[in-house]
Structures are given as C-alpha cells and as structure tokens.
Amino acid sequence: MSVLSSGATDARERQALAARVSVVVLEGLLWALLTVVLVTNVARPLAGDAMLGIGEGPYWGTTPSVTADVSDAVWERAFETLGDDLPAFGPGMMVGGPFERGEYVEATLPNRTDISVWSPMTFRQMVAVAGAPLLSGVVVAAALALAIRIVRDLRRGRLFDAANLTRTYQIAAVLGVGGMIAEVATAWGRIGVLTSPRLAGYVDVDWTVSFTPLVLGLTIAAGAEMLRLGIRMQRDVEGLV
C-alpha cells in the first residue's frame, strides 16, 4: 500500500473514532438532560403540595404558585399611600443628588408578584400550579427518551432505518401535539387562578399560548422526511463495494 493511501486510511480511522466519541458524548448529554427533566418537571410537581403532597423541604415542598403582574389599581393606591417614595424602596433617583459615579442605583418595587394557591384547590387551579408543568415535563421526557433510542442506533451505525423514521415522527407528534396541549392547559389553568374572586382587581389577568411546540414539531417532521430520503439512499448503496 502506498504512503498516500496509508495516510488516507489513518485519517478515515481517526474520523471514525471522533464520530464514535461524539455520539457517545451526545448520548450521555441526552441521558443527563432526561434525568434533570424527570427530577425538576415530573417528580417535583408530582411530589408537591398540589398533587401527592409528599415533598418536603424548600425544593420539593414549595408552595404552589403562579406569577402575575400587579394591577394598575394597586399601584395607584400605593402611590396615594406612599407618595414620592414609589416606585423605589428608600430614596429613589428623584431624591437627593447630584450623584457621584456609582451612586446611580435604585431599588424599585417589583411589578411581578407570586400568587400562592393552597389546598384544597380546584382541578383548574391544580392544572395551573402543577398539572401543566408536569405535562410539559412528560412531553419533553418522552421526546428525549425517543431521541436516546435514535442515538443508540446511531452508535451501532444503524441510523437510516424504518424504526428511527417512526421514532422521529413520534418525537414530532409528541412535541407538536403534546407541547401545544401543555401550552393551552397552562393558559387555561392560569386564567382560572387569576380570575379568582379573591384576587379581583389586584392582579392583571394575562396569559399567552406559544406556538413554539408546534413549529418545533413541524420542523422535526421535515427532518423525518430527510431521514426517509437517507433510508432510500442507504438502500441504494447497501452492498456496494
């Protein structure tokens, strides 16, 4: 064998080794991400007060809550009560001066507040504080589990086959459909909490539904079509020497 072809073989072997290492690292990262999602977005809502109520401590047993903006009516009342001190704690930038470099600092009252929800709660409230985050976590965990199966096949050099095409479509469906259901559930639950009669007039009832899961699902479905093309090309070159 010539020196040139020997060098080319060594380069190919190095590339193959680098590809194997990067796939192993990718699988490891996916497993780590799956573990984080299962702990933070599945186990934590399940163990929290809104669901099983078995969580203890500041991480597992936090009070279920949603965040909301304080309403204009509350700010107006606060201005009437506290006057020129608003919107800051202590002397704001309107008080004192002239200032030296580094003294232009001001502690302002937050516009965002936490709405705590305690048991017994309605199903809609439970969806807001735990159900929707749990559903989101399950959706992401399912997609990650499918992605890990695909990467494991990639380690064995078997990416372009019908099973992985099916898994890719499943990821697209789980993220697209499941993600949109989670988005709608989150908004539905949130509205249920914020329209509670005891909060009337204190917080703004705002909500949003993101179409990111749908776009992500459609993008992955498009990727599945590229995988289908790859399967056909692989079949064409199978047995080619």
């Binding site: 064998m1 080319a8 070159v237 047995g239 080619l240 020497v241």
Partner: protein
C-alpha cells in the same frame, strides 16, 4: 415497484459471478493482502467474494484488476440465461 417486490428483487441470487477465489489462488494472494493493496475493507472484499455485493465501483474494479493483473471479464462472469 411495491415494497414486497423490492425485497423480492433484493433477495434474488445475483446473475454475476465473482471469480475472486480462483484469481487469488492463481496469484498466490490472500484476501487480506488484496484488501490492503486495493484499500477497501476486508469486510467489503469478503462481501464481493461471497457474491453478496449489489454493486461495484469502477475504482474498486480497476484497483482489483491492477493488483491481480487481470481484466474485468476475468473477474466478473455473467451466469444468467442467454447465449454466453
């Protein structure tokens, strides 16, 4: 072509016989040595030798003919119906 027809076509025995064994024996070469000389993997060369290859690149064919000092017609023989 429907999928089951494609699978059936793939499983049909090849009508091209690869006479690599005879040429290797005549030249006193092993399959391993030939694989190194033509710079393809032993696995792929074995696929060719055992008649499981579905296609051969011209570059591979040229390299084998160069190392075995033969013509493509010495290596590949059509065994299907028709006048030979």
């Amino acid at each position: 072509m429907k999928r089951h027809e494609e699978r059936a076509a793939e499983d049909e025995p090849s009508l091209i016989e690869v006479r690599l064994d005879e040429l290797l024996e005549a030249r006193g070469l092993t399959l391993t040595e030939l694989a190194k000389r033509v710079d393809i993997t032993l696995a792929n060369l074995s696929v060719l030798k055992n008649g499981r290859a579905r296609a051969v690149r011209f570059s591979t064919l040229a390299a084998i003919c160069r190392e075995l000092d033969c013509q493509p017609g010495d290596l590949l023989v059509y065994t299907g119906p028709g006048p030979h």
